[in-house]
């Protein structure tokens, strides 16, 4: 019995790391490319053998105002996620507990509409309100992408939570709002983390809305990637370095979120 368990574990572990390698390969490729020159990037022979250069990264920060773009992306991502959580968590709870399917579908419709449909109408509205090139416009537009996501992930999560805990709270004399705030939310850690992470990622990478609604003051990172593609030259190295830099902050957030999830899981296990 023990032998079979050990073997099964070895198999699982190998499978795990193999899967991880396959999925991170393009990323590894990109990181390596960010330290190569243009010539080396385009020649497969140089995949492993090359002398790394930090020039691409220097270029990114010196020439292209990247720090400013990063701050903008940060503000919009965090802002739209917080707002989505504020509106979305209660809504998801309501929809899950009261089975408000129609409402859920309406909110989902926002995500079903192809992004292109929004471009001109939103520009018209935001321009007339003088909100083009402001964080407000970007946060609002990104919320339309994040909010349905937050709501639907949390619907699933809330539905799976056993009712006994809430019933216990009700018996103790807590009103519905208190039950939600004091009992349900604290044990929703993993779901909230997942939903928030997704919302941040979608906002961070959003390209279409930002092109139309952002200006010089609020330009976000995905647009900045295109700075490396000019009409008559393509700076692959710089582009790779930029792409790596863009990915880094979200990665850090994800790592932090993972820690929270693990802690949250432990707490949930004790309570449950």
């Amino acid at each position: 019995m023990k032998k079979r368990n050990a073997f099964a574990r070895l198999l699982s572990n190998t499978a795990t790391w193999l899967v991880l390698f396959v999925f991170s390969f393009p990323f590894i490729w990109m990181v390596m490319a960010s330290f190569k020159t243009q010539v080396q990037i385009q020649s497969p022979g140089n995949f492993f053998w090359f002398r790394p250069t930090g020039r691409n990264y220097a270029e990114v920060f010196n020439q292209y105002h990247f720090f400013k773009y990063m701050i903008n992306s940060f503000i919009v991502a965090i802002g739209s996620t917080l707002a989505s959580l504020l509106l979305g968590l209660p809504a998801a709870y309501g929809i899950a507990r009261y089975r408000l399917n129609g409402l859920g579908l309406t909110i989902l419709a926002a995500r079903i509409i192809p992004g292109i449909s929004f471009l001109i109408p939103w520009f018209i509205i935001f321009n007339s309100l003088g909100l083009v090139d402001t964080y407000t416009a970007l946060i609002l537009s990104h919320m339309l992408v994040g909010l349905p996501f937050v709501i639907w992930i949390m619907i699933s999560y809330f539905e799976a939570l056993p009712h006994e805990i809430e019933e216990a709270g009700a018996i103790d004399g807590c009103g519905k709002m208190k039950v939600f705030l004091r009992i349900v939310l604290p044990i929703s850690g993993p779901g909230v983390m997942t939903a928030s992470l997704m919302s941040i990622i979608f906002s961070w990478n959003n390209f279409m809305f930002s092109i139309i609604l952002a200006g010089e003051k609020t330009k976000t990172l995905p647009i900045a990637i295109f700075n490396f593609l000019s009409y008559s030259e393509v700076n692959w190295g710089g582009l790779m370095a930029a792409a790596c830099i863009i990915t880094l902050p979200v990665l850090v957030i994800a790592l932090a979120a993972q820690k929270f999830i693990i802690n949250g899981l432990a707490a949930g296990a004790v309570k449950g």
Binding site: Q42, N127, I211
Partner: protein, 440 residues
């Protein structure tokens, strides 16, 4: 959530730091000291105009020279840069809503010129030019360049950059095979066949193979056989001359080209050439740096430039205006914009932008040895020659250029796949004619 709030709090000092330093260094790191002419010599003091540009080396040079202009005129010019496609998209969305921003923008007369004109987005510049004809030395502009930006007799934009189709080739491979630089397309075909050696990693020929982007490159092949996309209002993509041009291009890619050519835009085609895996490459002059810069190319010292070879109707590469400056018809600062355009297309500035490797449109700058010192010597000759014999368009002169390119590009796709080119051309001709008729 708490953690996120903490993180935001931690960002605040960084935010402040960035806000304080963000004001400095808006691309003007060249250390050019502005000429200190104050007061009366600042006619546009307090005015601000927005300028949308494509990510283009020309724009980079302008950004460097801008502080001087701003000091002289007192106006602020806010430049926003986009990739080519995004620029078009952003312009479309904003101009369609009659926004007054941007005041001035880079535009591609052959790609969107007629569409923008039809939509009423350009402010015609004839009046402005008339007024300042002598000051800007209007005669100095190349005639064909101005023809490109003139529709229905109205001057819609001022040309800034020109482009020609040239033949990139590998000097070392030619030498090894004892060949001369081909002067006709038939000679070129023979040369391609001789050096084609895929087993040793060298393909005879490479060029763009993606449907829409190849149309501009195959145009020279068609022109050099005496054909064209249209004659007046008649679609002519299935004439024997046109079909000969399309077939040749497609056949060369099919038989002597690298794999996967159907997804090749210029970065991929140039990638193959710059990695030393192709002997001959026909494409625009504008991208030459990617071939001769040792950081970008393994064959930098062995790259030669030749004029587009002759077909049965002579050598007729395209020689066009690729970019021009247009004024927004809804701009609130038209006089300021005109002052800016005059400056940006003036002799001094064009000398500097051309020195940066952007072929300009002023004859005086081309004839000035200072003006051509930025290019490889061989390329200068090729550009001069091509401008003399070249055709002023590289795509159909219709409003709906995007759709026309998709229709026509399909012909070459069929050629690359080895299908019946005449049948494809007939089908395309029908669709193209319908498009032309629909625009009347």
């Amino acid at each position: 959530m708490k953690r996120i709030k903490n993180r935001l709090g931690a960002c605040l000092p960084a935010l402040l730091a960035v806000a304080l330093t963000a004001g400095c260094g808006s691309g003007g790191g060249s250390g050019a000291s502005p000429s200190s002419s104050e007061g009366a010599a600042q006619p546009f003091k307090g005015k601000k105009i927005t300028f949308y540009v494509a990510n283009h080396p020309w724009a980079e040079t302008i950004k460097e020279l801008l502080p001087e202009f701003e000091a002289q005129t007192g106006m602020k010019v806010e430049i926003q840069g986009f990739a080519e496609d995004q620029l078009s998209q952003k312009l479309s969305v904003q101009l369609t809503t009659r926004a007054s921003d941007p005041d001035v923008f880079m535009t591609r007369p052959l790609q969107e010129g007629r569409q923008f004109y039809k939509n009423g987005w350009y402010e015609p510049l004839d009046g402005y030019v008339e007024k300042d004809k002598a000051e800007i030395d209007f005669e100095d502009f190349s005639k064909s360049a101005l023809d490109t930006t003139t529709v229905d007799g109205k001057l819609l934009s001022i040309p800034i950059i020109s482009e020609q189709e040239v033949l990139y080739y590998r000097k070392d491979l030619l030498e090894k095979a004892n060949l001369q630089v081909p002067k006709t397309l038939d000679e070129l075909e023979a040369a391609i066949q001789k050096v084609h050696d895929p087993d040793n990693g060298v393909y005879g020929f490479v060029a763009r193979g993606q449907t829409a982007v190849l149309v501009t490159q195959v145009s020279s092949f068609v022109f050099s056989e005496g054909g064209d996309f249209m004659q007046g209002d008649k679609a002519t993509v299935n004439t024997p001359e046109a079909v000969k041009g399309f077939s040749r291009y497609g056949r060369w890619l099919k038989d002597y080209g690298p794999p996967g050519v159907l997804n090749f835009s210029w970065p991929q085609a140039m990638g193959v050439f710059a990695q030393g895996k192709a002997a001959f490459y026909t494409d625009a002059s504008a991208i030459y740096k990617n071939a001769v810069d040792p950081e970008k190319s393994t064959v930098a010292e062995n790259v030669g430039f030749a004029s587009f070879p002759a077909g049965s109707a002579g050598a007729k590469p395209y020689s066009i205006t690729s970019w021009a400056l247009g004024m927004n018809a809804q701009s609130d600062n038209k006089d300021a914009v005109w002052a800016f355009i005059k400056w940006a297309t003036g002799k001094e500035v064009m000398l500097k932008t051309q020195q940066g490797g952007n072929p300009g449109v002023r004859n005086s700058v081309w004839n000035d040895p200072e003006g051509v010192k930025g290019f490889p010597a061989e390329l200068v000759e090729v550009i001069r020659e091509s401008s003399k014999v070249g055709v002023g368009h590289d795509r159909p002169l219709v409003v709906n250029v995007g759709e026309a390119r998709d229709i026509i590009g399909e012909i070459v796709i069929q050629a690359i796949l080895g299908e019946d080119v005449q049948a494809a051309a007939d089908k395309a001709n029908q669709a193209f004619q319908a498009l032309i008729d629909g625009e009347k």
